[in-house]
């Protein structure tokens, strides 16, 4: 045998050291031809009960390898809104750098059960449209702040807001957010919770609620937040409790899954739910109720 035992050990040791020294092993940039895609209008708006003006953004999609410089603005687009059969034409409102914004002035405020259809058209793209109904308002019995909210899922100390309400029979979806109002500024407080009926929305500050586990029952729901003293919370916290339709819930949930997919190499691609026919984007409708936290 040509190679003696000590030499084999030395050989292995040298090989191990040389390969262990490889730098930047884990990430590599790959050359890729631009994949084909379908050009579509992107239409986004959120309409609340009580709104008289509706704000829209209209843009178009770009190829995945496009640069930041490639704009998304869609010149010459037209926007239309139809409320319970009555049509309104959108006007240009305020142009951001890359998007076109529109405003639609309605004759009357939007009310629960109003049927609202929105559409955006452009000569070079298929017309994008969506229809939704404004939901009913949800009623809350009490909202109470507790300085001690226990530990959250990551083991962090929290404070909490406890919401007491009677859930109406049938499938209901809610969105909750908490705002702290101060003299100098207002801001949204990040919310979380350990109840399985709660899930984070994609913007992290709001919580989505699915009533499957307490359908038709009275429910005490704990929404956790970072620790806050009673004094700090007193008179400054306001809960926005919003009734949303299933499409809103699905969009928010799928978008959260989409945002989370980067953290999970085992995940399959998540297609974000959209309710825009022949286009991309989202038409959200809601009915919100703002309450001061006790």
């Amino acid at each position: 045998m040509a190679m003696t035992l000590p030499k084999i050990y030395i050989f292995f040791f040298v090989v191990m050291i040389s390969f262990s020294a490889c730098e930047n092993f884990f990430e590599t940039t790959i050359e890729l031809d631009p994949p084909p895609y379908e050009k579509q209008i992107v239409l986004e708006t959120i309409a609340k009960a009580g709104d008289k003006d509706l704000y829209f953004t209209v843009s178009h999609n770009n190829g995945i390898l496009s640069n930041y410089d490639d704009g998304y603005a869609l010149e010459d687009a037209k926007v239309e809104v139809e409320v319970n059969g009555k049509k309104y034409i959108g006007e240009s409102y305020f142009g951001t750098a890359q998007l076109n914004n529109f405003i639609v002035h309605l004759d009357t405020e939007l009310l629960p059960n109003d049927k609202v259809t929105i559409s955006a058209s452009h000569p070079d793209y298929p017309t994008a449209s969506s229809t939704e109904f404004i939901p009913q308002v949800a009623m809350i019995e009490s909202v109470v702040f507790y300085e001690n909210g226990g530990l959250d899922q990551d083991g962090n100390q929290t404070s909490k807001v406890q919401i007491k309400f009677k859930d109406p029979k049938g499938r209901n979806f809610y969105l909750a957010s908490l705002k702290q109002v101060r003299l100098s500024y207002d801001y949204n407080v990040d919310l979380s919770g350990v109840d399985p009926s709660l899930s984070n929305s994609f913007d992290y500050t709001s919580i989505l609620i699915d009533d499957t586990s307490f359908d038709g029952q009275e429910k005490l729901l704990d929404l956790q937040m970072y620790t806050m003293s009673k004094e700090e919370a007193q008179g400054t916290l306001f809960l926005t409790w919003t009734q949303i339709p299933e499409s809103f819930y699905k969009y928010s949930k799928s978008r959260k899954q989409y945002e989370d997919r980067d953290d999970n190499p085992f995940s399959s691609p998540v297609t974000i739910f959209d309710n825009i026919d022949n286009g991309l984007g989202f038409f959200g409708v809601m009915n919100e109720n703002i309450l001061e936290v006790q």
Partner: protein, 787 residues
């Protein structure tokens, strides 16, 4: 057409009824030292050129024409041949003890072997000796049976380091993985990086990927039949091995010498123990304490008792769990104590009680009762206790999913004459499926509030019945058939599904050197694994066929040729086509932890796979190993995915090559190496992007970029290739043998793709595709001691 097929089957079984003056030699073939039964040992009668092999329990029966004294040859890989003179007149029962060879090269099969590839009726079957599997270099030195099977043609691995098996275009749930005859539902530890099978406790592994004999059913793509060792009947022995991440201990020996033996084998990882002080310290400050960790363990135990030459009983048990835990608590010196306790545990328990009974020299019966339970149990408690008032504010959550089976099976082997080997049996399984249940309990004593809720999916009970009959039938000296029929039924809710599955395999030897083979098999699967493509995650759900969800079906045809090139080298080439219907998949965007009915979250579709496999294997000699090559296409089509268009399966792999070699440099040193190459996995890439709100408040006018996706699995990642090398240094001393194994995974440090994603490169101001690789060069060292 069906009537003709069944008539043909019946006609083929008729000739065994016609017999002349014959005698039968029957008995067991076992390891001379340990008494361990040898599965698939050859029994050959050179005078008549007839032969057979031992069954799963080491039993054989060979009926011959009366023709005076002659010799029977018994052989088995790794053992010296045993020649026994028989008088050739009367029935005889004999238990043959074979002596193990020191090395594989000493075997010379002088007579024609019924185990030679040309003589086997069944195709698409591979047996790998466990000794060979133990020599294959492994990730972190953890010998892994399932990863060894990935090196065979027609079997593809999933992602980097994963032990999922994708057999001829099937998914991992389409593999019937049997441990001592009991289905194992979750064969993975640590999210698929290690398998649950402890190689030290395993006697035999067999993979069947097509041409399924009628005795198997219930899965579409493969059968992986793993048998545990029975325990040494004569002497007490042990095997201790210490590795980088786990240690194993196996003990075996006689309880009553020659009659009763036991085997106990355990494995546990110890990363959690080694890191506990560091983790504990990181959790601890003046107010809080806690800890976190992960471990897995396996425990195999088996007792084997010989009541008489005709009756034996085996009891085998397996249990294994993966456990992740995380606890945190305020120290007791405070008025308000917050705490959280979290545990994620998943694992299997299986058990089998088998009774072998020889009814007569031609009839062998096996009766088995089995239990299998896979469970995912997630617990999370969050709470606060107030010392002065004794008030509590606690939320307890639990999520449970799983599958539990009780089964009874009766098999009969009947060998009326050398031209027929008939197997028949019945199997009944009672399944209990838990497709995911949340338990929520909330208590606030100061408010006098208590809330309990159980939400999720209804537990479903179902029963599965199977009947089979098959005959390994020597039609002429040149033509062998294995024909059979598998009948199955599945009762769930108020629905009863039935299925008739004909099976046929043919082996034609135009001359001694070549065999041409063909097979056809239909399969039906009543249970489904709802999984995200990618890994064997504990959240994957086993679900039944229901009134809404139809059973999965497949048919497969294969043709091939086999040849023994020399006494130790075999070549086989096979082409196959497999068609699958009613496969299940999550709909786009559906998630695991959702409260909606799981049936609403899935969709059913079809799949097909076809390809060519080449397998060149050297079984004996100083150098042993194989070359496997697969050329294949695998596609899926679901009406609700990819706009109904057909798309490549994620593990569609055009080329797949495995080179496995083991060389005995000397009696003390063995060198082993594995090289694999595979076409890159098919993945879905984004094709366009657009601007969207960053939050749900329309008053904030901020935007982010979202992406849309191209055709499903329309992009190929880079090819995968890797070389693993290992050396085993063996030192034998009286009564013990120690082995140092050193080696490395991915020796030349290839950057194999694990997943890809788009990112913005600010240096070049361009959107680019980036690839993440997982395992660089990873050395390992393990120590094992046999005593």
């Amino acid at each position: 057409m069906n009537v003709k097929i069944y008539t043909l089957f019946l006609l083929m079984w008729m000739p065994f009824l016609l017999s002349s003056q014959k005698y039968t030699i029957s008995g067991y073939v076992e390891d001379g030292a340990s008494g361990e039964k040898l599965i698939g040992a050859n029994v050959f009668h050179p005078n008549s050129n007839y032969g057979t092999t031992t069954n799963t329990y080491g039993y054989f029966s060979l009926t011959l024409d009366q023709a005076g004294s002659s010799t029977l040859v018994f052989s088995y890989i790794g053992y010296q041949n045993e020649e026994v003179v028989i008088d050739g007149l009367a029935n005889k029962v004999m238990n043959i003890k074979l002596t193990a060879s020191n090395t594989l090269e000493t075997i010379e099969v002088t007579a024609e072997s019924s185990k030679r590839i040309e003589n086997q009726t069944q195709m698409s079957v591979v047996d790998i000796p466990i000794k060979q599997i133990q020599r294959i270099p492994a990730l972190m030195g953890e010998v892994d049976v399932l990863k060894a099977l990935q090196l065979l043609p027609g079997v593809q691995s999933g992602g980097e380091g994963q032990n999922g098996l994708y057999v001829r275009g099937g998914s991992p749930d389409q593999n019937l993985i049997l441990l001592d005859g009991v289905p194992v539902y979750n064969a993975s530890h640590l999210f698929g990086f290690f398998s649950v099978f402890n190689a030290d406790a395993i006697k035999d592994v067999r993979l069947i990927k097509g041409g399924f004999p009628a005795r198997y059913g219930g899965r579409l793509s493969s059968v992986i039949d793993i048998n545990l060792k029975e325990g040494n009947l004569n002497e007490f022995h042990g095997d201790l091995s210490v590795g980088l991440i786990s240690s194993k201990l196996t003990l075996e020996g006689p309880i009553s010498k020659g009659k009763t033996s036991f085997l106990v084998s355990g494995r546990r990882t110890y990363i959690d123990i080694l890191t506990r002080p560091i983790i504990k310290k990181s959790f601890e400050d003046e107010n809080t304490e806690g800890g976190a960790g992960y471990y897995f363990y396996d425990l195999n135990a088996k007792v084997n008792h010989k009541f008489s030459d005709r009756d034996r009983m085996y009891l085998s048990v397996y249990t294994g769990d993966d456990v992740f835990y995380f606890d945190q608590k305020d120290k007791d010196n405070q008025e308000i104590i917050d705490f959280t306790e979290n545990k994620l545990a998943w694992g299997n328990i299986t058990g089998a009680l088998r009774w072998n009974h020889i009814l007569n020299e031609k009839l062998f019966a096996n009766t088995t009762i089995t239990y299998s339970n896979y469970k995912l149990d997630t617990k999370a408690n969050f709470g606060t206790t107030y010392k002065s008032s004794n008030d509590e504010d606690i939320i307890r959550l639990q999520y449970i999913s799983g599958i539990k089976d009780w089964a009874a099976k009766f098999d009969l082997d009947y060998v009326p004459n050398p031209n027929h080997f008939i197997k028949t049996g019945v199997n009944i399984i009672l399944h209990t499926f838990n497709p995911g249940t949340f338990n929520l309990e909330q208590t606030i004593t100061s408010e006098n509030y208590h809330f309990e809720s159980v939400v999720g999916q209804d537990i479903k009970n179902a029963s599965e019945l199977a009947l089979y009959a098959e005959d390994d039938f020597l039609v002429t000296k040149q033509l062998k058939l294995n024909t059979g029929i598998h009948l199955s039924g599945f009762a769930v809710d108020k629905k009863f599904y039935t299925s008739i599955q004909p099976r046929i395999s043919m082996n034609w030897n135009p001359n001694k050197n070549w065999a041409f083979k063909a097979s056809y098999a239909t399969m039906r699967q009543y249970i489904n694994l709802l999984a995200f493509e990618g890994a064997g995650l504990p959240t994957d759900l086993w679900l039944p066929t229901t009134e809404r969800i139809k059973p999965q079906d497949s048919w497969q045809v294969a043709v091939g040729a086999g040849k023994t090139l020399s006494n130790s080298m075999e070549l086989s080439v096979e082409a196959y086509y497999k068609n699958m219907t009613n496969l299940i998949s999550y709909k786009d965007g559906a998630g695991v932890f959702e409260l909606t009915d799981w049936q609403d979250r899935i969709t059913q579709g079809n799949g097909k796979s076809y390809g060519l496999e080449v397998f060149l294997q050297k079984k004996k000699g100083k150098f042993s190993g194989w070359l496997g090559y697969t050329l294949s296409w695998t596609k899926r089509q679901f009406d609700e995915i990819n706009n109904g268009k057909e798309f490549p399966y994620r593990y569609d792999r055009r080329h797949d090559i495995s080179l496995v070699g083991s060389y005995d440099i000397s009696k003390k040193i063995n060198l082993a190496a594995t090289w694999v190459f595979g076409t890159g996995n098919a993945v879905t890439l984004s094709n366009s992007k657009y601007r969207a709100f960053t939050n749900l408040n329309p008053d904030y006018n901020y935007f982010t970029t979202l992406e849309t996706y191209s055709d499903k699995n329309g992009y190929r990642m880079r090819p995968y290739h890797r070389l693993d090398v290992g050396i085993n240094f063996v030192k034998k001393k009286p009564n013990r043998e120690r082995t140092w194994s050193v080696g490395a995974y991915n020796t030349y440090g290839n950057k194999n793709p694990f997943y890809v994603y788009f990112d913005y490169d600010y240096e070049t101001d361009k959107q680019v595709l980036k690839q993440i690789s997982l395992f660089p060069f990873i050395p390992y060292v393990t120590y094992s001691l046999k005593f």
